[in-house]
Amino acid sequence: MGSSTSQLSKELLSEYQELTFLTKQEILLAHKTFIELLPPESQNVVDSLTAQVSRVPTEKVLTLPELKANPFKDRICRVFSTAPEKDSLSFEDFLDLLSVFSDAATPDIKSHYAFRIFDFDDDGTLNKEDLKQLVNRLTGTEEDTQLSPSEMNQLIQNILEESDIDRDGTINLSEFQHVISRSPDFTSSFKIVL
């Protein structure tokens, strides 16, 4: 811990702390974890912070123990990535990820990003295909763990009936946030801590 305090400059640290929901210790821990994911030649402070030089490809980020068992890990990396092809994360993207998943983040921002994670086709709404894929990811990836087609259809119909208020067949961001606001468990379960 002592060596890493000398690595990130104080102004940068306080700037990150003010703009995210993370504490200083969490930012330093995140930096340490991020540096370990970089290739050996760019494992220094300057390079790790320059987004153009060092981005960690998604496959490496997915090896983190906190993300490995998550069924939405690829979507999480995709949503937070600012690269043009959405295939790598810079340090600031990584901080964004941890900030949204931290303890102190507001429910609004969590639900906003949850919506983007669940929107598999990135069209701004959750249609039937998105919901189908979501349920399949939740129940497990093997063949025998998935719901039968009739159950799946019934479930999706029930979901749409409960949450699609304007009856257009899709769930948009406001409707999603409205559903989430009725569940008090969401903020405590939508957490990843290093």
Binding site: E15, L19, T23, P71, G140, L147, E151, I159
Partner: protein
């Protein structure tokens, strides 16, 4: 065709105001007729769209199944319609950065103008009600995005530093963009600072807000420093990673109980225990007994005459100078600085510590309630299960697989429940279910009453035994006999819940969550009935029998014995219930490891805490023992959990259950202890030979005596005695306060009912807007199709 047309519905607001005074029922009639009109129109559009669809599907050779429910949008739109759909505001807010920027620009404007939520009558009937009250913008071109961005930067400069940071933190943009926004607003702010100097007076309120926010951020900084020292942070993370949030809620509840005990000790230790230790009474009872191990279990022997129990405490003013005319035989020769009235201190400290605990409990209970019970929170279980049930804190592969299984089971159960609701049981089946339910409840209550009677008769039997056989058996054996009653009670508490589980397997509940609630209820009734009976036994029989022989110390010792026995039984239960079961399962090569039963364990914690609260008056160090017990329990339970158990299979709504646990801690547990304590303070005669209240008729008299002395000593502070006489002693004041509280509660209930009605109306409005939208889209689609065919 390149520019997307803007759809802004502008229905004049004047129409809304006359209808504001009508009752909600009239509005719904209006909406219903509107609804019918829409239905007719959309059916017409359906017919047209159907024709077009058949045509287009014939053309493109697609075989999609058509959905013929009314007001559902057909899916096969052409590309122009799809492009317009994609640019709709409700869809762009979920994906485009420009829309987010403009949304937060509007929010910032509102914050600057200190605009609270607009009144309902100011909203036009067509305004889409969303919980953010914002104006949604369309998907912006790059130039428009730049404009919006510069507007946002300008607005951000108008805010104070803390507000701006707060705003930026809550924006769902990437960190790089936030840094840019911040830099831009900083630069501009520096340049324009001297222009805004005159406007600083306008921001006086925001300055106060800034101070509040600054103080809050300092507080959070302090808290985060404390969190870094959090002793169990890593352990809790491990537990939640492997077992999920249901098991975590048990350990969090344990931490809450530890904090309550620390709160009690904060009052008791410095004001009672430390003072008495500094001024020990002259020993009237010489220490003749040697230390044997048995004292740790029974609390007698050497422990009797220590600060641990009530009997040790002095009943005079400590540290009193000799010159005063009162109680001249307990004074010190040299001049003392601070006379300390021990009886008064004892009474007030116990009273104040209970009062603080009560406030802390009610506060945490109401906060928990507020988070988990919202209006309409039980609706929409399917959506909530699918969107919110994955626990992202789970990190182990095995635990993740278990979560998958759990969620799948939960979804299947929900679907089955839903099917059942669609086809409700026949009258016969329902009657049968009710009879079985009633029978099982009668059985459980009968068992509880039977156990209570058994405990009572056993305690009477032990009591008489003690009376008659005092000469025949040794003292040691007598002490061991004292452990018999706690033993019986603990055995009952251990065995009967399994019996209840067996009874519960006969009844068929429609929802598995209800089963958990019912089981908790029954176990709690059992425990509380037994405890109530024991209290009655102590207050009645024991006082009469022991009379002046320091019955308070005896009651304190009894509670100590109960606590120790409870701890031993928890250890045994953990050992046999979890460790031995796992060994047996491994030997038999099964894979059903024992589950961690959260409800049962939490009830045991509540029971232990009730014992502590019951005994605080008679044994001021009991919270310290409870604290030690809880600390041990944390590590033992954690080790056993990691080594032996698997995560529970039943569905668990963590925050509802936490609310229920805190409520159970407050209502039967704390309230019962408070009633017992009030009875002991107000009605019971303290023993004559020991303790701080030996010369008084009731414990409460100590404060009356003090007030009388105050009156005599300094007649100028009559207001204090006046307050005491008219507010505390007079019951009229309490009636008044209760009546006012009841009125406030009734008022709040009515407000909530009104809000529910408003929510229904708003939902109806949104529904109508949706039908409008589909109607317009279908018309648009038909126009494009006709244009395509005519080209």
């Amino acid at each position: 065709m390149s520019q997307s047309p803007s759809f802004i519905l502008s229905i004049p607001e004047g129409k809304e105001s006359p209808s504001q005074d009508l009752s909600p029922y009239d509005e719904s009639i209006v909406h219903d007729s509107f609804h019918q009109l829409i239905q007719e129109q959309s059916q017409q559009a359906e017919v047209e769209a159907l024709e077009l669809q058949e045509w287009s599907s014939r053309d493109k050779g697609r075989g999609h199944q058509l959905q013929l429910e009314p007001c559902r949008a057909p899916q096969n739109y052409n590309s122009a319609t799809l492009r317009i759909l994609a640019n709709m505001p409700s869809r762009t807010i979920g994906r485009s950065r420009g829309a987010i920027i403009s949304q937060y620009y509007n929010q910032t404007v509102k914050l600057r103008r200190k605009n609270s939520r607009p009144l309902l009558r100011d909203m036009s009937s067509s305004a889409r009600p969303s919980i953010w009250q914002n104006d949604l913008e369309l998907d912006l071109t790059p130039r428009e995005e730049e404009e919006k961005r510069s507007l946002l930067v300008k607005e951000l400069q108008g805010l104070t530093v803390a507000q701006r940071d707060h705003m930026l933190r809550a924006m769902p943009l990437s960190l790089a963009e936030k840094c840019c926004l911040r830099q831009d607003s900083c630069i501009q702010r520096g340049r324009q600072k001297h222009h805004h100097r005159s406007q600083t007076q306008l921001y006086c309120c925001s300055r106060l807000q800034y101070h509040c926010i600054a103080f809050r951020s300092l507080w959070y900084g302090l808290l985060s420093g404390l969190y870094a020292l959090k002793p169990w942070h890593y352990s809790l993370k491990q537990i939640s990673g492997q077992f999920g949030s249901s098991v975590l809620s048990y350990f969090l509840f344990l931490k809450t109980l530890i904090s309550f005990n620390v709160l009690l000790l904060l009052f008791l230790l410095p004001f009672i225990v430390a003072v008495q230790v500094a001024f020990p009474p002259t020993s009237e009872f010489p220490f003749s007994q040697s230390f044997t191990g048995l004292e740790l279990f029974t609390g007698r022997g050497q422990f009797t005459h220590t600060v641990m129990f009530y009997g040790y405490y002095s009943n005079f003013t400590l540290n009193q100078p000799c010159s005063s005319h009162q109680n001249s035989d307990h004074c010190l020769p040299k001049a003392a600085h601070l006379p300390y009235n021990m009886p008064l201190a004892y009474l007030f400290t116990v009273g104040v510590s209970f009062f603080t605990t009560c406030i802390a409990l009610v506060y945490s209970m109401s906060r928990s309630f507020g988070k988990s019970y919202q209006v309409g929170s039980t609706l929409g279980v399917h959506a909530i299960t699918v969107f919110c049930s994955w626990d992202y804190r789970v990190t182990q592969k095995r635990a993740a697989r278990l979560q998958h299984d759990n969620i799948r089971t939960q979804l299947k159960e929900l679907l089955a429940e839903w099917q059942l609701k669609q086809h409700p049981r026949s009258m016969c089946g329902r009657l049968q279910q009710m009879i079985v339910l009633l029978l099982v409840w009668l059985l459980c209550l009968g068992t509880a009453v039977g156990c209570a009677i058994a405990v009572y008769s056993f305690s009477e039997f032990m009591h008489e035994n003690q009376e008659t056989k005092t000469q025949m058996i040794s003292e040691k054996l007598q002490e061991v006999h004292l452990l018999a009653l706690p033993l019986i009670v603990c055995i009952i508490n251990l065995v009967i819940p399994y019996l209840y589980n067996a009874f519960a397997s006969w009844e068929q509940h429609d929802s598995p969550v209800l089963e958990v609630y019912v089981a908790i209820c029954r176990n709690l009734i059992l425990k509380m009935v037994i405890l109530g009976l024991l209290c009655y036994h102590w207050m009645g029989r024991k006082i009469r029998t022991l009379g002046d022989q320091c019955w308070e110390t005896f009651v304190g010792q009894e509670l100590y014995r109960f606590m120790v026995m409870d701890f031993i039984f928890i250890l045994l239960d953990t050992l046999f219930g979890e460790l031995v079961w796992r060994l047996i399962v491994e030997r038999l090569k099964g894979d059903r490891k024992p589950e961690f039963d959260v409800a049962r364990n939490v009830l045991e914690l509540i029971y232990g805490q009730t014992l502590t609260w019951l005994g605080v008056l008679f044994s001021p160090l009991l919270p310290a023992i409870q604290l030690l017990k809880l600390l041990f329990l944390f590590y033992i339970k954690k080790i056993s959990l990691m080594a032996n158990c698997q995560a529970p299979r039943k569905p668990w709504r963590a925050s509802h259950m936490t609310t229920i646990f805190i409520t159970l801690l407050c209502f039967p547990s704390f309230l019962g202890a408070a009633i017992f304590l009030s009875y002991a303070i107000w009605q019971v005669r303290p023993s004559r030979t020991c303790g701080p209240f030996r010369t008084l008729d009731t414990i409460y008299e100590a404060s009356k005596v003090w007030i009388r002395r105050l009156e005599e000593a300094s007649p100028s502070i009559t207001w204090f005695t006046w307050i005491h006489q008219y507010l505390v002693e007079n019951t009229f004041f309490i009636f008044l306060i209760s009546a006012v509280l009841l009125a406030v509660i009734y008022f709040n209930i009515q407000v909530v009912k009104g809000q529910r009605k408003v929510i229904c109306l708003l939902k109806e409005q949104i529904n109508n807007e949706g039908e409008d939208k589909i109607f317009l889209i279908n018309k648009l689609h038909s126009i494009y199709e006709s244009r395509a065919t005519s080209n």
